[in-house]
């Protein structure tokens, strides 16, 4: 990978993190946050410029939220890139494929029927698997390998799953508020609990995806030729889809429906560095993490003291971007 792009991605990540930690109803200042962080590093002997309340705001409110944003953003962006590679479809995305709607249904069932919160990621994963499986099967049955067919199938499946999800949500008036707030997408954390739940899922999924980044390049020449180059195509596809779906499900279970990250970030990365997944996948992961923290920053500051759902922010930027991608995609059509 070109070193300068890796450096640029890490600089972007650091900047987004410091802005995310520093800005909010109580301005802490990115520079002071940086000093505070360094004060926690042993042997540096830097004193923190923050007082007790500010320190609590930073470490109990902002930091968990920013870290959750990093995890969810990294996951959605790398899952998007992975789906695009494995389905050889530039328009594939966790949301357009029905993964997110399925995860939403699974998580809604858990909330509505009052099951333990720990079950949310599991139920979300089951729902997401059903969503992706149904979209892929439907897409194949109507349009072979056409990119448009897969996306239309995903939209169809997502609409259906969303209808069931809305039905369940309305039947359980007591939890409507909770479900609704969650559906719109939010990185609202109460401390570090959600973050700790997310870490193993995201680490595992992202690890599996990164492991397959070279093989995703081989899949670009089609199943037949990839197979003639010695790649076990069915196994690679299964592992990548399973990992991307698991990661998406964990992200959705914790943060609700945050759309378009899986489209915007990988496509922006491709414009910068070309199409090889050896580079696109790791860079999407890093840029996705920073991107979502910045989106969350906008969500909680633009109508301060109220908050916008973060899904509204990503859709506001993502939908026009998607329109541009759609126009420039040459492979659409049967």
């Amino acid at each position: 990978m070109p070193v300068r792009w890796a450096a640029a991605a890490l600089a972007f990540l650091l900047l987004a993190t410091l802005l995310g930690l520093g800005l909010g109803p109580v301005g802490l200042g990115a520079g002071r946050v940086a000093r505070d962080v360094l004060s926690h590093v042993p042997f540096l002997h830097i004193s923190s410029p923050l007082n007790g309340t500010e320190d609590a705001i930073l470490w109990q409110l902002r930091a968990p939220r920013v870290v959750l944003g990093l995890l969810v953003g990294a996951m959605l962006a790398s899952a998007g890139a992975a789906y695009q590679g494995v389905f050889r479809n530039p328009l594939a995305d966790p949301y357009l494929l029905g993964a997110a709607a399925g995860a939403g249904l699974g998580a809604t069932l858990v909330i509505a029927y009052g099951a333990a919160d720990d079950l949310r990621p599991v139920a979300a994963f089951a729902g997401a698997t059903v969503g992706v499986g149904a979209a892929y099967a439907l897409g194949r049955s109507v349009g072979g390998r056409s990119t448009a067919a897969l996306v239309l199938a995903g939209v169809t499946v997502a609409s259906f799953l969303t209808a069931i999800q809305t039905f369940v949500q309305q039947r359980h008036a007591d939890s409507v508020q909770e479900v609704y707030a969650w559906i719109l997408g939010q990185l609202d954390t109460s401390g570090w609990t959600e973050v700790l739940i997310a870490v193993p899922y995201v680490a595992f999924s992202a690890g599996v995806l990164l492991l397959h980044r070279r093989l995703l390049d081989v899949l670009a020449v089609g199943d037949e030729e990839a197979s003639s180059l010695g790649v076990p195509v069915a196994r690679v596809r299964f592992l990548v889809v399973a990992a991307a779906t698991l990661g998406t499900a964990a992200a959705v279970a914790l943060s609700g429906l945050i759309g378009f990250v899986g489209i915007i970030v990988p496509h922006a990365v491709r414009l910068l560095v070309g199409t090889s997944y050896r580079v696109v996948l790791p860079l999407s992961l890093v840029f996705g993490a920073g991107f979502l923290v910045l989106a969350d920053l906008i969500a909680r500051t633009v109508i301060s003291p109220a908050e916008l759902p973060i899904g509204v922010v990503t859709a506001f930027f993502g939908a026009p971007f998607f329109a541009v991608v759609l126009r420039t995609t040459r492979t659409v059509g049967p």
Binding site: R214, V221, E224, L229, G230, P232, T275, R278
Partner: protein, 264 residues
């Protein structure tokens, strides 16, 4: 040694018998051309060698049964150039050639300097060095075919399977590509098995030809032995003149007669 040996090979695809009891052998270092009319089973025979289709009978690669070899082992010995390769427009020529290294890398291995060297070397041998950073979508037909061959060379296999390697090219590009294959063969002792429609090109470049028709092996021998006016008429239903030149046989299609009622 025999590179590829078919022993009573039959292939059934969706209830249709497309290859029927074919015997043939490709000797090490030889260029064997498969010819035959549309639907004769040429591509299926190539796919059987590459282990990409189930067959009855036996296909051996340097003595080992293809069906019993792991996919990666086959890919280290055989490079397949398909009739219509899927070439992503946005991929660069170097990235594409690098894909040829796949069988030499373990599942999660990264591309190393040695692989980059092999890919660059392959580009050099196909006169594509200046094209390394060009996108596949910007190449001409002949350049694309050379890029596919570069990928095959980077694969470092001993057997090259060519399925209609020149059918989409103009006559100049056809000659250039086949001359390159010929010189690669001379440099590194490659064995080549090709399926070709163009009988003249087959007759000029292959050492030996096997004619298949409706899944059966119907004739084999030197180009001069197989490309006779009578055999071509019988199996292709074509009227041709066969010319013998210094470099091999040329097959020229000729109209049987001019219709009397057409005015010039």
């Amino acid at each position: 040694m025999t590179a590829v040996a078919f022993d009573r090979v039959s292939v059934t695809l969706e209830d249709a018998r497309v290859v029927e009891h074919v015997d043939l052998a490709v000797e090490d270092g030889e260029w064997l051309g498969l010819i035959g009319p549309n639907g004769a089973g040429k591509t299926t025979l190539l796919r059987a060698v590459a282990g990409m289709v189930a067959y009855d009978g036996s296909v051996r690669l340097w003595g080992e049964e293809v069906g019993a070899l792991p996919r990666r082992q086959i890919a280290r010995r055989i490079a397949l150039v398909p009739q219509v390769p899927l070439m992503p427009d946005e991929m660069t020529v170097l990235e594409y050639a690098l894909l040829g290294r796949t069988p030499h890398l373990s599942y999660a291995a990264k591309v190393g300097e040695a692989d980059l060297d092999a890919a660059r070397n392959a580009l050099g041998r196909l006169e594509l060095t200046g094209f390394a950073q060009r996108r596949l979508g910007s190449l001409s037909g002949g350049e694309r075919q050379r890029a596919v061959l570069a990928r095959a060379i980077a694969q470092d296999a001993s057997l090259l399977l060519l399925d209609e390697p020149t059918s989409a090219l103009d006559v100049g590009a056809q000659q250039q590509v086949l001359e390159l294959v010929s010189s690669l063969r001379a440099q590194s002792g490659l064995t080549v098995l090709s399926a070709m429609h163009d009988l003249t090109l087959a007759g000029q470049y292959a050492d030996r030809l096997v004619l298949v028709d409706r899944g059966r092996h119907v004739a084999s021998g030197t180009p001069a032995e197989v490309l006779t006016e009578e055999l071509v008429a019988r199996h292709y239903g074509a009227s041709v003149r066969v010319l013998n030149g210094e470099t091999g046989v040329a097959v020229v299609p000729l109209r049987r007669s001019r219709p009397a009622d057409v005015e010039d």
